[in-house]
């Protein structure tokens, strides 16, 4: 069962540039990722949009493994700002998991 976390949804909603909603799950990003990150960004973005904070926390290591190299973003057919979205999630995790402000 997924527990919806308002803080996560608010964090994402407050960032106008966050556009994971545009993803239509084609998998180009996953295929191109130099790190071979299976979770990122598609599955992760689904959890985020659902407000599934526990799932996002469980993926912390993957979120911080992203190289921010934009290989995926350069090829994304939906123009998802993947690296920006990942950075926003890092900011959320830094504040809420690591308590660094």
């Amino acid at each position: 069962m997924i527990r919806v976390d308002r803080k996560l949804l608010e964090e994402v909603a407050s960032d106008e540039a966050f556009n994971a909603q545009a993803c239509f799950n084609c998998g180009t990003c996953t295929a191109l990722c130099p790190m071979g990150l299976e979770w990122l960004p598609r599955e992760l973005f689904r959890y985020v949009l659902l407000g599934a904070a526990e799932k996002v926390s469980a993926l912390t290591e993957a979120v911080f493994s992203c190289l921010l190299c934009r290989m995926c973003e350069a090829q994304c057919p939906r123009g998802v700002r993947i690296t920006h979205n990942i950075r926003t999630l890092r900011g959320y995790l830094v504040k809420n998991e690591y308590r660094i402000r």
């Binding site: 921010l68 890092r90 660094i100």
Partner: protein, 315 residues
């Protein structure tokens, strides 16, 4: 990560090193202090010898020991600058090399008729790593401090030496520091605009490795190629090149050194398939690719090749 945030907040850098260490490269160059146009090193090249030493030591420790060590350092760090000690571990070869690269860049700019100042000890790390890791609070406070300092020195234009510092000043500072409007250009752009007068035919091709940040964030793709060609070099292009360049793994080096090495090996294989000499334009790529090269291969910084071409022309 907490250590990085502490360092940035308390000492103005993710890896605070003493001013003398960071500015020793500029000795004897007689760069004026400050001025409207300054060369901004952003400390990335100077950090290489220390990053190399820390990487080597981190890889020698099992992950659970690394976590314990990080926890201890985090407690001690507010009182004693633990990162400052890391300079005693710095690799002397890399220290010599990164200092030489910075001197090369000044020489190249001077040869192109560009004179610039330098802020010496007043120059601060720009904050790219903190921004990338999502340390938004510490980064924004730091960026405002750096911007205030640049204003105080009357700086109007920055000439940067690496892609990360270029990108953070050009694209991120204007978003977090109200009114930040400095002109920010990489030395690669400045040189490419002016052209290089040194056409020396090299015996071998150079394989060019694009930095992700230069190529995909800043669209700086033709400039380094033009400079290499003007230096008389033939440029070989790997399949993953230009807008689809393959990362060197460097960005995750501080958190996951083993994964970073894997990515670097994969990239080096692609490059090595085309030639023995690889050229890159980013300090992080330089270190990461050098670390995994076969002894028969060489990895150069763009400035090293350009300066060699100038030197040869005079002979």
């Amino acid at each position: 990560m907490a250590l990085l945030a502490q360092n940035l907040g308390l000492r103005g850098s993710v890896l605070p090193l003493p001013g003398g260490y960071l500015t020793s490269w500029a000795k004897g160059l007689l760069l004026p202090r400050g001025g409207e146009v300054v060369l901004y090193t952003g400390h990335m090249y100077q950090m290489l010898p220390v990053i190399k030493a820390m990487e080597d030591r981190a890889k020698a420790l099992p992950p659970e020991k690394r976590d314990q060590l990080a926890a201890i350092l985090r407690l001690v760090n507010p009182l004693v600058n633990v990162s400052g000690f890391s300079r005693f571990l710095a690799s002397p070869d890399w220290k010599e090399r990164s200092n030489r690269i910075l001197r090369n860049i000044v020489e190249l700019l001077r040869r192109a008729g560009v004179e610039c100042g330098y802020l010496y000890e007043a120059e601060k790390y720009a904050g790219a790593l903190a921004y990338d890791l999502g340390l938004d609070g510490p980064f924004e406070r730091h960026a405002r401090r750096v911007a205030r300092r640049l204003r105080r020195y009357g700086v109007k234009e920055l000439i940067t030496v690496d892609p990360h510092t270029t990108q953070i000043f050009r694209e991120v500072y204007p978003q977090v520091v109200p009114g930040f409007d400095l002109r920010v250009r990489s030395y690669v752009e400045v040189l490419a605009e002016r052209g290089l007068e040194a056409a020396l035919p090299w015996e071998e091709e150079f394989v060019f490795h694009d930095s992700c940040v230069y190529a995909r964030y800043l669209g700086l793709i033709e400039e380094p190629r033009r400079l290499l060609t003007q230096a008389g070099a033939q440029v070989a292009e790997p399949d993953f090149s230009r807008e689809v360049t393959h990362c060197c793994g460097g960005p995750v080096e501080s958190l996951f050194p083993e994964k970073a090495e894997e990515v670097a090996r994969r990239r080096m294989e692609q490059l090595a398939g085309l030639g023995r000499r690889v050229v890159c334009a980013c300090p992080i790529c330089l270190l990461n690719l050098s670390e995994v090269r076969d002894p028969r291969q060489e990895v150069f910084d763009l400035s090293e090749v350009l300066v060699a071409a100038l030197g040869q022309k005079e002979k």
